[in-house]
């Protein structure tokens, strides 16, 4: 739909069907003027996207998990070079132990890679975010990851409102590169930069990322105008107005989160939920504004920093540092364990009743019996 001109990808569950389908689209000519490169690794996939983007072609790839780590060096390089590549990340756990199911360890491992990271809450949003991603990427000349939960979203069969091609073409204009390898006007891209200017280059990246916060919001706004549907953007709040206790999530847990909030409201607990769509750049103001009225916040995420704890929780706490808000950090749904509504409800109830201490990571869904059988108490 977004008319990529080069697709270079390497198969990995749960992304395989995406690249299979794209290969078919290119072969049948449905996706015209597009080259599909069957590369020999993810490292080559991202590298080929770098080459393609630098000669002015819209470049796309998709990966997950081990594949994302395998291409990591090139992922950092793409953002350093300021190339607006779009990549779907079908979020999957990282081994060992090898595990093909969903969590966010892969994208979180590349948190600091200089890419914009957008997380889809459902299949419709995943579709919409791809349209927005190309616009955001090309407007900012920064690469964008569209993260969608492996299997949960990548293999969900849901009715999706697919926009008409003309609408998409109007929304995603042809790619006009901000830097281009052009024989008529030769430039050197990727020169070696020493201590005399490296800091400034990184500073400019940070500046551009800051600007991208506005761009992400603006493109989501334009999307709503064009398609009449609210999708993407920085954060999405649900029943936050008078909420005492707010559950913060990213990705597909958002659905369960809203249901739990409704249930708790019926029980008389003033709960709300905030879904983070844009994780990098970190939408500090939007998060602060959304959570300023709360007394307690619980961040539930599908990844954690081993040896430290919550990843997103740190950012949330930082955004609220001077407000009287308690932030509890929790992790759940690792390696494909389904995030059950009952567990989430118990978590939020516990936080609302001030039963869960801060300063440590709470595991949502530990199987204590399994641990005991392994001799762990």
């Amino acid at each position: 739909m977004c008319r990529p001109q080069v697709v270079a990808a390497y198969p990995i569950s749960p992304q395989t069907h995406i690249v299979e389908a794209l290969s078919d689209l290119v072969r049948t000519g449905e996706l015209a003027q597009c080259e599909y490169l069957t590369v020999e690794s993810e490292f080559a996939a991202m590298s080929a996207c770098i080459g393609a983007s630098a000669v002015g072609a819209r470049a796309y790839t998709a990966s997950a998990s081990q594949g994302l780590l395998f291409m990591a060096e090139a992922v950092f390089n793409a953002s350093g070079l300021g190339l607006p590549i779009v990549m779907t990340v079908a979020n999957r756990a990282i081994g060992a132990p090898i595990n093909i199911w969903n969590d966010h360890s892969d994208a979180m491992a590349l948190r600091d890679a200089g890419w914009i990271q957008l997380y889809a809450a459902d299949v419709q949003e995943a579709t919409d975010l791809h349209l927005q991603a190309f616009v955001v990427a090309e407007r900012t000349s920064l690469p964008v990851m569209v993260c969608m939960d492996g299997f949960v979203l990548t293999h969900a069969v849901e009715e999706v409102d697919l926009p008409e091609q003309e609408q998409v073409d109007a929304f995603v204009p042809p790619f006009v590169p901000q830097q281009l390898l052009d024989p008529d006007d030769p430039v050197t891209i990727g020169a070696m930069v020493g201590p005399e200017a490296f800091t400034e280059v990184r500073y400019l990246m940070q500046q551009r990322m800051d600007t991208a916060i506005g761009t992400v919001a603006e493109v989501a706004h334009d999307f709503r105008e064009a398609f009449g549907r609210s999708s993407g953007g920085l954060v999405r709040g649900y029943r936050l107005e008078d909420a005492d206790t707010v559950l913060v999530t990213l990705g597909s847990v958002a659905g369960a989160a809203t249901e739990v909030v409704d249930e708790l409201r019926e029980q008389g607990i003033a709960a709300g939920t905030l879904t983070l769509t844009c994780f990098r750049p970190w939408p500090d103001e939007a998060v602060r504004e959304a959570l300023a009225g709360a007394r307690r916040v619980v961040v539930l995420e599908r990844a954690f920093s081993v040896g430290r704890g919550s990843i997103v929780g740190q950012d949330v706490r930082d955004s609220l540092h001077d407000l009287p808000v308690t932030v509890v950090e929790a992790v759940g749904g690792l390696g494909g364990r389904p995030v059950r509504r009952s567990d989430v409800r118990r978590l939020v109830e516990g936080v609302a009743a001030d039963l869960l201490p801060t300063g440590r990571l709470h595991f949502l869904d530990l199987d204590h019996a399994l641990l005991a059988s392994a001799g762990v108490r």
Partner: protein
Amino acid sequence: MTSTRETRLYQVGTFAAGNRLLDLEDRSVQAHPDRTNAITSGHRACRGCGEALGARFVLDAAVRAAGGDLVTANATGCLEVFSTPYPESSWQVPWLHSLFGNAPAVASGMAAGLRAQGRATRVVGQAGDGGTVDIGFGCLSGMFERNDDVLFVCYDNQGYMNTGVQRSGATPPAARTATTSTAGDVPGNPFGQGKSAPLIAMAHEIPYVATATVADLRDLEDKVTRAMEHHGARYLHVLVPCPLGWAADPSDTVRLARLATESGLFPLFEAEHGEVTGVTPIRHRVPVDDYLRLQGRYAHLFGEPGRPDLVARLQAGADRNIARFGLLEEGGDRP
């Protein structure tokens, strides 16, 4: 203090680069009135750097063959570092450096991106031997196997020079490097199985493979030109002596490249679709000693007591090349 040194002038009859006394069609790209000058002077390469010389001739010839319509991808390594110290750049052609191990894949992506836009711009990828035969090898093989429309050039100085002369998969046996010292029973790089990137390229049956050196720049240019006549994956492996890494005199760069071929250690050949189509016969065969003795990296093989046994093993390797490629037989494709 001034010193005088003897200057010798070479006249017509040699194919020396820059010889402006030749007829126009016999001149090298460098001596041609519309020479392209892909890499300008002022870069930071060491004195006598074979890589700088090789890259200049390769790129100039390629730019000319492409009518100026060309882009390049470059791996990390000496060539990248000495040519683009920010805010300077020696490159007069569109040039991208991404990483150490991905230049072939970046070049593949460029070719795909250009094709998708209907542009006829040609693509040249380049890397040192490390970026080619070691860390970039997977990407290179993938590029060959898909027959992507890229000319990939390896500047082989037989080691990781940019990081201070460590061993690479292309370092020859017995050579001293920073990671293969002269201590132990077999001093220098161990005798292994070798890794001939040109032969491996040929095994992919790609349209064109050739080897060349900076000793015969006309031959190098011809091979680039021929490579550019083909489309699909093409591979050029250029031996580029490195005075620093080889501990050799900077003025011996061209001589060393010549001795490498005349000893049989570095055979010159061309191949199309997996078959050798021509070899450059050795005109004046020399023993490997002549080549080795000029280089400090082999100093441990000579002197007292020396290691004549290892020199003999190196000679055996050269003899094997000579027999394998028929380097002493007449009937190569050029006189």
